[in-house]
């Protein structure tokens, strides 16, 4: 469970909060503006109504004199409703109306006024409230009366208050809800992120095979998780490779180093003749060269696996590379009693690293020569090039003893040499370099049956 402050610090929550703030500001200003405009409009209507009544009173006065005016006013005053009517003489003594008194400053200054007053439930609809709020116009009639006509606007005020209250609650509700939604989203996002952090933590503690769980939702987090998992897979493979290499280096390099040391020690023995010493030194150089070759192969594999810059990719005519390399090896094969045939389709050039493709092909052919030697009859190597399903396919097939199904994965790894070939020269790195070259070109190496023999297939996608 996450503490509130943890959630508060998340980007999701902060963005939600920001959104809420912006929304609330907009809502408040919009509603405020609406309320303000409404109240102005209502007031204008009320003033118009008041003006109409004043006109009526004036008419009465002109037709029937002061008496008519007072009668008309009292009639209006007796009507139920929020109307306020008041008439006094010049000294302020009330003559008629539905309120007991009107503030002196209202009476003495003709014009529009608003004021608070106490009233005694003299009109219906006030609900017995004792406080009122008046909007009135006062004026002096020509015959020496002071008249006040107006409306009690407590109701209107109450209405506005209700709107504002509802509005306030609404805003509060929005804020509460959005905070809740924000916290909820933040928490669900954080929970997904936590699974990533947790997995990362486990991996850092050494459990390399941990993977980030992927849900079925296939949303952006799942895509991220899938990609991260692919990355972890690759890292684990590299780590595994490194570990194997270290183990194998220890084994496969220590052996020749020991031989080397023994040789030199032998040469240093007092009774060693000059010829013996010379022979020992020559063997030493040979051993050194073999070691250097192994090292170079290892380094090359490591660099290929790390990915060489794409600048080394040029347009390569695969048929030409095959022709070059088979021609280079043909005499060697022939001396070993092996014939090399080629079956090459005419293909356009593809972007590839020519040197490495050449080197891979050399390794494949050297490998095939080793195997073909053990063929029951008519040892043959067949190199073919074709294009299939968007892949350039180079097959090197021999008719030797073949590679057992269970060993096929293993021979592509570094330093793996099958028992049969232990006695042959070779570092056990040939095929793993081919595999690395294939990976560099986003392709792969497959070992197939040639019955009899093995076909090693290097396939490289034409589009990368």
């Amino acid at each position: 469970m996450h503490s509130f402050w943890q959630l508060w610090r998340t980007t999701t929550f902060r963005l939600t909060a920001l959104l809420i703030a912006v929304f609330v500001v907009f809502a408040v200003s919009l509603l405020g503006y609406l309320a303000y405009q409404t109240s102005i409009m209502i007031q204008r209507q009320q003033i118009q109504a008041i003006d109409r009544e004043i006109d009526q009173l004036n008419n009465q006065y002109q037709r029937q004199g002061p008496r008519g005016l007072i009668v008309a006013l009292q009639r209006m005053a007796n009507r139920p409703g929020p109307g306020i009517y008041f008439v006094s003489d010049l000294s302020g003594l009330p003559i008629a109306g539905n309120v007991d008194s009107v503030p002196v400053e209202v009476l003495e200054n003709p014009g529009t006024h608003t004021y608070r007053y106490d009233h005694d439930s003299n009109f219906e609809g006030s609900g017995g409230q004792s406080r009122g709020f008046a909007l009135v116009k006062s004026f002096e009639s020509p015959s020496g009366f002071r008249l006040v006509v107006g409306r009690d606007i407590v109701e209107r005020r109450g209405f506005a208050a209700i709107i504002f209250q509802a509005f306030g609650w609404g805003v509060l509700w929005i804020i509460v809800m959005s905070v809740a939604v924000g916290l909820f989203t933040a928490r669900s996002v954080l929970r997904r992120i936590d699974t990533v952090s947790e997995t990362a933590g486990k991996i850092m503690r050494g459990s390399m095979s941990e993977r980030i769980p992927v849900t079925k939702r296939n949303d952006e987090y799942d895509q991220l998780a899938t990609n991260l998992n692919a990355m972890l897979e690759r890292i684990e493979q590299l780590m595994q490779g490194l570990k194997e290499v270290t183990d194998n280096v220890a084994h496969d390099l220590k052996t020749p180093l020991t031989r080397l040391r023994n040789n030199v020690e032998g040469a240093l023995r007092d009774d060693a003749s000059k010829e013996q010493q010379r022979a020992a030194l020559e063997t030493t150089i040979e051993e050194c060269d073999q070691l250097i070759r192994t090292f170079n192969a290892l380094l090359l594999i490591a660099r290929v696996e790390a990915g060489t810059p794409s600048g080394t990719f040029v347009d390569v005519n695969f048929a030409e590379v095959i022709a070059d390399i088979t021609e280079l090896y043909e005499p060697v094969a022939e001396d070993a009693g092996i014939s090399i045939t080629t079956e090459v389709e005419d293909l356009p050039t593809f972007k590839a690293n020519r040197e490495l493709i050449g080197q891979a092909l050399v390794n494949l052919i050297e490998n095939a020569i080793k195997y073909a030697k053990d063929a029951k009859s008519d040892p043959t190597i067949k190199v073919s090039l074709k294009r299939n399903n968007g892949h350039v396919i180079i097959d090197v097939a021999d008719n030797g003893p073949g590679i057992p199904q269970e060993d096929r994965e293993r021979v592509l790894q570094r330093f793996v040499r099958l028992e049969k070939s232990r006695s042959e020269p070779g570092s056990g790195l040939g095929l793993s370099l081919v595999a690395a070259v294939a990976r560099l070109h986003k392709g792969e190496v497959e070992i197939l049956d040639n019955s009899p023999g093995a076909t090693i297939r290097l396939q490289i996608p034409t589009e990368r």
Partner: protein
């Protein structure tokens, strides 16, 4: 030959200088990039051997500066880096050849001798002759003792390269690089098999042999 060796590993440098001396060359030594550059630009050398990673100034920039000044002294780059892209950057910087450490001294010697004498007229000659063997580069005719010898295209290029550097040792890797245009480490006997076929065609049944195997180094053609 007068050689400038720019190499910061003192022990390797001492060994090289002594070995070059025994091979009949005069070698000067600079232990860092700046000194090396100063010596290369102030004195006349037949060849420069430049380590790629040097204190104070790296080997490639020395060669680049010299080339920018119009100094075309052949330069061989020594490097612990050996991948294709490193070789390409090295040659692009103006280096003439590239050798990866660790290397055999015989390889280095063969390469610098070929490099230093590269400008010889043999480069342009249309007919190459060694003793009674002649090779016409235009008609692609090869004759020995006036007798025509039929060669495969690759054998022709192999012989052409050897004759261009007649009297000089060429190593197996040099042959692979220059005749086949691949830079990998050959399984030693790949080239040997080709050479023995060529030898059969050139020398077999003749009074004198022209193709010589130089033990521990490579091959040489000479009368």
């Amino acid at each position: 030959m007068k050689i400038l060796l720019i190499e910061d590993d003192r022990e390797a440098a001492n060994y090289l200088i002594q070995a070059l001396d025994e091979a009949g060359h005069v070698a000067h030594h600079a232990a860092d990039g700046e000194t090396g550059y100063a010596m290369a630009s102030s004195m006349d050398y037949d060849i420069l051997i430049v380590d790629r990673m040097l204190p104070r100034r790296d080997g490639l920039s020395i060669i680049e500066s010299l080339r920018a000044e119009g100094d075309e002294t052949p330069a061989l780059i020594l490097s612990a880096l050996g991948e294709v892209d490193d070789r390409v950057t090295g040659l692009r910087a103006g280096g003439d050849d590239y050798l990866t450490k660790p290397y055999a001294f015989s390889e280095l010697l063969a390469r610098i001798e070929v490099l230093a004498r590269r400008s010889a007229p043999a480069e342009a000659a249309t007919t190459l002759t060694v003793g009674d063997l002649s090779l016409d580069r235009l008609s692609r005719n090869v004759e020995r003792e006036g007798e025509k010898i039929l060669l495969q295209p690759r054998e022709f290029r192999l012989l052409e390269y050897l004759m261009k550097h007649a009297g000089q040792v060429v190593t197996r890797t040099m042959l692979l690089e220059n005749v086949w245009d691949y830079h990998f480490d050959p399984q030693t006997n790949v080239i040997d098999v080709h050479m023995s076929r060529l030898r059969t065609k050139i020398d077999k049944g003749r009074k004198s042999a022209l193709l010589h195997t130089i033990r521990g180094s490579g091959y040489m053609i000479s009368a």
